[in-house]
Amino acid sequence: MNSTEVKNNYLSVFSDWEKTALTKDPFWIRETREKALSYFEKSGFPSSKDEAWKYTDLDAFYKIPFALTGEGQTKAAVSAELKFLGFDTSKANLMVFVNGHLSKSLSSFEDSHGIKVRSLIESLSNGPLKRYFIEILPFENRPFVSLNYAYFTDGLFLHVPEGKQLEKPVHLVYLSDNSGKPTQSHLRNLILMEEGSRATVVEHYWGNNLNPYFTNVVTKVSLDKDASLDHTKIQQESELATHIGVLAARQKENSRLAARVFSFGGGLGRSEVETVLAEKRAEVALDGLTLSTGKQHLDIRTFVDHLSPACKSAQAFKAVADKSGTAVFDGQVLVRENAQKTDASQSNKNLELSKDAKIYSKPQLTIYADDVKCSHGSATGQLDEEAIFYFQSRGISREEARRTLVYAFAEEMVGKIQNDYVKGPVGLMVQRWMEEEIGKKS
């Protein structure tokens, strides 16, 4: 199929899908689904002429007939495998989604102290959510976001009331079933942090499926005054997967967002993170590590909108590309007229391990205020042959030398993780990647 055929397919299956799959939708949801679909009808899929999609080739995605399925099943021994990854899930609110539907039997989570940790679709019947549902990330001109609005099935609803702190992190695991048919999931998460509240959330996309699948996710975050969210996304999809995800936040006065993206999996993976620093002294730290090998294409796109004065944003992204892997960093910072005393920094460092690996780096700062402190930098290099020889001259094999040097490069991003629940497991994933991709110990 080509992009028009895939588009037409999404348009034609909608009414049947909606009838059978989602009888519990309140009316306003059905309305937004239809509105979103009509936007998608107008926009179609992004074209390579679209600046935002310049580096992302969707041709392989169009070729696969991803089916919209009902609740999926997984034979994966989820808890044992999470343990192998290093997660102590007894210390978390674990929510497992299969094909976009919450699996209650694999999950273990609860409300506590007025904090709601719930399935989004079950929470939506409550009217007040409507505002948040539509605000923050409009779907106009964003084809995959429109598709998500039209077809989303479920996700997390987290609501932390004023002054409350969520003790256990929320660990969201998203799986796709492995029944042989290419499947797709459209997931939606909504995180509402009231004044002075705190929480930790881990979004974990994970699979080693033998059939292709497509994950399309939108996470929205609202941070009130003094609220703080620590968010980690681990994109560890199967190599056959297409993953497209957006995290969009809106931050009020003196709120803090730390959002990290670890992109290890997926054949085509694209993660966007964007935040609007809407009130003064809001702070955001965006970090990420991409490890791309084989024929993987992994994109990171960030957008920080400095709307108000005295806000701070710091971005640090690193990527390693080996074999024919591609890694993209496209980061934008916009400092508007009113955003005096902005402190914005952006850094992107990349390591190219083979001649067929490709790295694209495009850090951009657009500044309309005059009293600001802004910096950005980008560097792409290869491993230092002199350093490799130094290892070898001490008896350490070339492979181990390379592995150690790549790990040393990547490890900095693991070091930035503040919460222990994810730090260990992510460190382990990085280490295992080095062992599997850059040769065995000799």
């Binding site: 230092d384 042959e385 002199e386 350093a387 020889f389 130094y390 290892f391 070898q392 001259s393 001490r394 008896g395 350490i396 094999s397 070339r398 181990e400 150690t404 040097l405 040393a408 490069f409 490890e411 900095e412 000799s442």
Partner: protein, 254 residues
């Protein structure tokens, strides 16, 4: 233990080694002196297996085996150690980790058991002491931000830990203060053994007051143009290299 026969090497179009002959027997200390750019570091690098040099002739035997056929790590495991003229800084790799990985790689290749963290730390601390190195050096990234002298001491520390059969020290004395020179020389002397050879590249007779060589060679324009005993170094100190046939300064080409 080491036999270099008519060794020739070049980088791109530039001939650097033009027929080096040198034999080092177990237990001997050989000093190599010679003008800047004469090929001393190149010789050291070629012996250690650094890429980028094309060997255009000659051979090198180490304990009777063809050294040039081995990968650099296999040469190190076979007992060759090069102390670099310019030790490499490796950001993000802990010095202890590096040393331990090196020692265990060498031990493993000999069929010896790998050392665990505790045993290794004990061993390395014992080696640090005579070098008057601070233990905090172990926690830092390899050579990163080390002073010139600290880097050289770190090379000697690595040598002491790895206990090679043949140690090639490329200007390990350069950049050391007077006390550090003594400490490093003592470190080398402590490693002297009947079954261990040394090749010292140096510009200064002073080092040879501390580490007394059995032979002194002059390498000029890619060849060994003169060899002698330790008194040759003293003579060079006084007269320079100009008087030796083959080491005269070439007239600038017009």
């Amino acid at each position: 233990m080491l036999e270099i026969k008519n060794l020739q090497a070049r980088v791109e179009d530039k001939e650097i080694l033009r027929g080096v002959d040198l034999t080092v027997k177990a237990g001997e200390v050989h000093a190599i002196m010679g003008p800047n750019g004469s090929g001393k570091s190149t010789l050291a690098h070629v012996l250690a297996g650094r890429e980028g040099y094309e060997i255009t002739g000659g051979q090198v035997l180490f304990e009777g085996k063809d050294l040039l056929a081995l990968k650099p790590e296999d040469r190190a495991r076979a007992g060759i150690f090069l102390a670099f003229q310019y030790p490499v800084e490796i950001a993000g790799v802990n010095n202890t980790y590096f040393l331990k990985a090196a020692l265990n790689a060498v031990r493993k290749s000999k069929g010896e058991e790998e050392l665990d963290a505790m045993d290794f730390l004990e061993l390395v601390k014992a080696k640090l002491k005579p070098l008057k190195m601070d233990e905090s050096m172990l926690q830092r990234s390899v050579n990163e931000g080390f002073s010139g002298g600290e880097k050289k001491k770190n090379e000697v520390l690595q040598m002491a830990v790895l206990e090679p059969k043949l140690a090639i020290l490329d200007e390990t004395d350069s950049g050391l203060d007077i006390d550090a020179l003594k400490v490093v020389a003592d470190g080398v002397n402590a490693l002297k053994r009947k079954d261990r050879g040394f090749l010292l590249v140096t510009h200064y007779q002073r080092l040879l007051d501390y580490i007394v060589p059995d032979y002194v060679h002059v390498l000029a324009q890619g060849r060994i143009v003169k060899s002698g005993g330790k008194e040759l170094a003293k003579e060079l100190e006084q007269k320079g290299y100009g008087w030796i046939p083959g080491a005269e300064k070439k007239e600038a080409a017009v």
